[in-house]
């Protein structure tokens, strides 16, 4: 940040935050609209606004390069908004915007570094300008046939004179039949008395299905009468078979439609019904005052890229969902505030302190032996309140996974283009919530895994899939759900599955095998792909195959206290299963003592605890101790040996044995004593200690108990693996 003037540092932070949020918004809009190939006016406005803000704020920060890029984007969307040009290649437009968004994002990230030098964006700006030039050329009126844009010019002007258009919705008698023909007759009758006439559905002559539409939604006629509208209305009223009709003020359309979901559909159809006037009115449109145009944009008029032949009312459910999602989104916005994560961390720390202090006060040694009814009553109340407070603070920090999942759509999009593989990305349970601290660490691992699934998982040749009876298009599923205090995230593909033979061969070549090949179970082989320096792909690609990916994934997940496992079936697919703790901050734990030290075992890992009897202890040939419980054998880990501590007694039968589970394996731990159970606040180790691999030695963090003493939280996974 050295390049900013003194006093600007505070603003830089705000700028970075603001720009990142805006760019994320932009990306969401792009992803949403690209999936159904349509921009509506609101989206265009939003993009315009985002670019405008970024332009302004980056200019203020003296970042002229960012400002220039944003400016060119703003210009482009200004033209799209105001002139509604015919967009020949919407894909090009998306590519331009995506690239610009990426460039800006990268720039914002670079600003945070110390030696920041502005990047030159002139190349991309040039591309945008070239595109704008094409847009301008193409902004001549286009016939309605194809795309988004073509409607643009038609959308603008009917609004201008729709004040004198009258819309009437006609309903026919319930069993009159041949509604389409009746409609046609009706149109013919009133045609002579109208200056202009449109109707919807407009394909009554050709499309038999329009009957259903007319029955469901009525027959919509819009007309501009030559003389008196009453005359026309009378004609409608007197026609045979007409049950009822209603006059709709065009301007009230939105309100009227808002009553039901089909509102969207109606809007859609309105746009279509304007088509008739395009040619006649297009010259006028250019002369319309700007005011009229801004009005247009305020109404939600989707500009679809679908061919207008497709007049069927039922629009894809996707689009409707989109609309719903959007309205929910905008509703939600008003009730949110943005808080610095540090403050939340502080709050959580504070609450942790209160929980501990509360325990300190109520279990104070001074109170021993005293009969304090009132005190105990108040203490219970306090306990209840602190518990609630803790729950609330924890819930504040919970964030749905959908944010991280949505970012994957972008990854998939890029991969699709580069790998030339068509893949469906499916989300399940993306509303599952996880602590913010966990979320931040999930992005990279998930990205690696999704890339991996697309690159290695899904078959390169669609023919192979068809042969196996699978759909041609592969599917990558991201799912999440809660299970016993953990969140489980699964990245699954329906691809070729892991070829165990290939993996073994590769592991052998890389010298990763530690026992004879035949002794490896499938599960062990699957887990090999997460060893450092392993990659089965023949060629190193841009996305995966450097043999670091899956190893990094495992490390990152373990860093946040989680674990990764692999399941795969040849020909059916592969799943990566990530288990992460719901929250990093407060866990239930069981305290045990080993010599002078007290350790906390997360309660999730504890199966049972008991005193050992003679019969249960078994030694194998090498002197390794095993414990037999209900016919199953578990290895015994003496914690004092594991940590080089001096225990009270080295006799197994004096101590307490705790059966624990971690990473799919079980083991028995030997401790001196069981002290108790308590909710504890996890404090991460100082970076100083992390340098000495405390994590690899089975210590996940530490915690402060009610009496102020510190205990170490054990990481059972690691202990079981290390022993």
């Amino acid at each position: 940040m050295a390049s900013f003037e003194a006093g600007m540092e505070g603003m830089v932070e705000v700028f970075i935050y603001e720009s990142t949020t805006l760019l994320e918004q932009l990306e969401q809009i792009l992803m949403r609209t690209e999936s159904n190939n349509s921009f509506d006016d609101e989206d265009i406005n939003e993009i315009f606004r985002i670019m405008h803000t970024i332009k302004g704020s980056s200019a203020m920060m003296g970042l002229s390069n960012m400002s220039a890029l944003a400016h060119s984007m703003e210009d482009m969307f200004f033209i799209i908004r105001e002139e509604k040009p015919y967009i020949i290649s919407i894909q090009n437009l998306y590519d331009l915007v995506f690239t610009a968004s990426d460039l800006l994002k990268a720039e914002v990230e670079m600003i945070q570094e110390d030696n920041y030098t502005p990047t030159d964006f002139s190349e991309h700006i040039g591309k945008i300008k070239a595109f704008v030039a094409i847009l301008k050329d193409g902004s001549v009126t286009e016939p309605e046939q194809t795309a988004a844009s073509s409607e643009d010019n038609s959308v603008t002007e009917p609004i201008a004179d729709d004040s004198d258009m009258i819309a009437v919705r006609v309903f026919f008698d319930d069993d009159c039949e041949m509604e389409n023909l009746r409609s046609l007759l009706l149109i013919k009758k009133i045609k002579e008395d109208c200056l202009k006439l449109e109707y919807e559905p407009s394909d009554i002559e050709t499309n038999a299905d329009s009957i259903k539409t007319i029955i469901d939604n009525g027959f919509l006629i819009k007309f501009k009468p030559i003389n008196d509208e009453k005359y026309i209305l009378k004609t409608i009223e007197d026609s045979v078979g007409v049950k009822s009709y209603e006059v709709i003020e065009h301007n009230n359309n939105n309100a009227e439609n808002a009553e039901a979901l089909p509102g969207f559909i109606d809007l859609e159809s309105n746009t279509e019904s304007y088509t008739g006037l395009t040619d006649a009115e297009s010259s006028e449109s250019a002369d319309e005052p700007l005011q009229a145009k801004t009005d247009t944009t305020e109404q939600t008029k989707p500009i679809t890229n679908d061919s207008s032949e497709n007049l069927e009312l039922p629009k894809s459910a996707e689009q409707i969902n989109n609309l719903l999602a959007k309205s929910q989104g905008s509703k939600g916005k008003q009730n949110l505030i943005t808080v610095n994560l540090n403050k939340l961390d502080q709050l959580l720390d504070m609450v942790g302190e209160i929980v501990i202090t509360e325990a300190m006060v109520t279990s104070s040694a001074d109170l021993k032996g005293l009969k304090l009814d009132n005190f105990n009553k108040s203490a219970r109340q306090l306990r209840k309140l602190t518990d609630e407070l803790q729950d609330i603070v924890m819930s504040i920090r919970m964030v749905p996974l959908s944010g991280v999942f949505n970012k994957m759509t972008r990854v998939v999009r890029d991969m699709k283009v580069k790998l030339n593989k068509d893949v469906n990305l499916v989300f399940e349970g993306e509303e599952t919530e996880v602590d913010k601290g966990v979320i931040d660490n999930l992005n990279d691992p998930l990205m690696h895994m999704v890339r991996n699934s697309m690159d290695h998982g899904i078959e390169d040749d669609p023919q192979e899939r068809i042969k196996l009876g699978k759909p041609e298009k592969g599917t990558v599923t991201l799912s999440a759900y809660n299970a016993s205090g953990e969140v489980i995230i699964v990245v699954a593909d329906d691809g070729a599955g892991i070829n165990t033979k290939k993996v073994l061969e590769k592991a052998k070549r890389n010298g990763l095998l530690t026992k004879p090949e035949s002794e490896y179970t499938d599960k062990e082989i699957f887990n090999m792909i997460m060893l450092p320096g392993f990659s089965t792909n023949e060629e190193v690609t841009e996305f995966s195959g450097r043999g670091v990916g899956m190893d990094v994934v495992r490390q990152n997940i373990e860093k946040i206290g989680g674990s990764v496992s692999v399941e795969s079936k040849q020909g059916v697919g592969t799943s990566f299963i990530i288990k992460i703790p719901l929250s990093l901050a407060i866990v239930g734990g069981i305290e045990i003592s080993v010599g002078p030290s007290i350790f906390t075992i997360p309660i999730n890992s504890v199966k049972e605890s008991f005193k050992l009897n003679q019969k249960q202890l078994i030694r194998d040939m090498s002197g390794k101790e095993m414990v037999m419980i209900r016919g199953k054998c578990y290895p015994l880990i003496r914690l004092y040996e594991f940590y080089d501590l001096t225990p009270k007694s080295t006799d197994v039968f004096d101590g307490m044995v705790i059966l624990v589970e971690g990473g799919g394996k079980q083991a028995c731990l030997l401790a001196d004593e069981l002290i108790g159970e308590q909710q504890v606040v996890v404090k991460p180790f100082s970076p100083l200690l992390n340098r000495y691999n405390v994590k690899q030695n089975g210590m996940a963090g530490c915690t402060i108990l009610g009496d102020g003493s510190i205990t170490i939280i054990l990481d059972i996974n690691n202990i079981i693996q290390e022993q």
Binding site: I356, I598, D644, S686, P687, L688
Partner: protein, 153 residues
């Protein structure tokens, strides 16, 4: 704290002088610039962390913060002595790392002028590798510690 920033601070100290806290370890006088120091506390109950180098004695609880402590004697390779009521923990903060240094006793804060700072001793052996410079004032020799090296390396 990254190296560049630390070096900058060192250069600034060498040029302008500053205040240092004096303390003794094995009867030798050492100093640390006071801007690294957040507080000085008496010896506390220390929770042992297994499987770390022996000079890291464990962690202590400072108002709800878990802070690792380094025994400076052990760090220097000098035989350790039992803690007494004069034993102090100097809490220093180096960027994101907060660490307690266990020293025999703490003396006073003195102001060092630039001309009192002598250059780094040439031959770096085990016992003086943490000394950054020698300070000679009031006819007394004081050794200014390289905090970053002491804690981070």
């Amino acid at each position: 704290m990254n190296e560049d920033l630390y070096n900058e601070l060192v250069a600034q100290f060498n040029a302008e002088g500053g205040e240092i806290l004096m303390f003794t370890v094995d009867r030798m006088l050492y100093g640390i610039e006071i801007h690294y120091i957040t507080e000085i506390i008496g010896i506390q109950p220390i929770t042992i962390i297994p499987k770390v180098p022996s000079f890291i004695k464990g962690v202590i609880n400072i108002r709800g913060k878990v802070v690792p402590v380094i025994n400076v004697r052990a760090r220097f390779g000098i035989p350790e002595v039992p803690y007494d009521d004069r034993t102090c923990i100097i809490v220093v903060e180096l960027g994101e790392i907060v660490v307690g240094l266990i020293v025999d006793r703490v003396r006073e804060v003195i102001t060092v002028k630039p001309n009192e700072i002598c250059s780094t001793p040439g031959n770096q052996n085990k016992s003086n590798q943490f000394i950054r410079s020698i300070i000679e004032s009031n006819d007394e020799i004081k050794l200014l510690l390289d905090v970053r090296k002491l804690v981070m390396e």
